[in-house]
Subunit: 191 residues, 2 copies
Amino acid sequence: MYGRPMEKNSLEWQETGSRRVFDCPVFAVRELDSRSPENKTKTFLVMDAADWVISIPVLQDGGERELVMVRQWRHGSRELSLEFPGGVMEKGEDPERAAERELREETAYQAGKLQKLGEFRPNPALMSNTVHIFLAEDLRYTGSQELDDDEFIEVVRVKPREVLRGMGQAPYVHALMGSALALYLREFPLT
Amino acid sequence: MYGRPMEKNSLEWQETGSRRVFDCPVFAVRELDSRSPENKTKTFLVMDAADWVISIPVLQDGGERELVMVRQWRHGSRELSLEFPGGVMEKGEDPERAAERELREETAYQAGKLQKLGEFRPNPALMSNTVHIFLAEDLRYTGSQELDDDEFIEVVRVKPREVLRGMGQAPYVHALMGSALALYLREFPLT
């Protein structure tokens, strides 16, 4: 349409260097030097973290669909959050396996069928990682969650329409769950 | 439904202390001590950053709606990303004013009407900040973008259906734009 500059290639920057400035078990921070389309070099901050996975578990016992969600405390925003199950990928784990594992551990549901709906950068301005989003179907109840000592998770079923109605306010505060819901709505539109 | 433990109150943690461990112009990192529902104390990492705003600018010249989007380089994920306009709130600025300003600077459109659709925590496990999402209507073209020296932004119009179809793959990689789209679809369902 318009913009500075018009050509797509001239929007691209070229990375010229990178230095780690902070490190902790959850993420690392780098200073990154990059050369602009106009050949000026500037320094940015980038966080490196492991990739994440989310699955949207769909139950359909004859009638209306229900989504399996988890309620848990979030330490960053200091509040309870109602979310699709998911978590951090382990080293060497592929996204589908991680999604299946997190679903089983958090909700006690084993997915018979996982379908990738898409992937996003949780925060492409600041972070280098990716979140992989799956639809989980043919759910089989295993009988018990497998939680770590510091995990306290309540499992609930919610109708898709109720999730959509609630999104963007408490307890549906987690932005990545909104992203996942958009991909769900592409598969199963609600009118 | 079930979970450990069953009562909602017993999912909540109690913060007991906090220390800053890293600081830079874009964010700060804190170690945070928190006491679990079972009375065990654990330490977490939390990033503090300014709040963000996003607006979904809707053009409707008689026929089908079009959304105004911006294409720009993202340094965290090292790629071009096609997004709704938005950015970081300035100190003392309220969310609506910031959304209106970012829209005008990035796209050269002045919003006659802004409606808040909701807000999310971009990453409530790790980050304490909020993203505020608006619908922008009655757009008036001002004639020129107001970009910083290091901003290179191409403005395009895209039909909502095309945005939904593309979400979760390049160039629609920014997760918060997926969250914003979910709220848009609540207002204007696509079947």
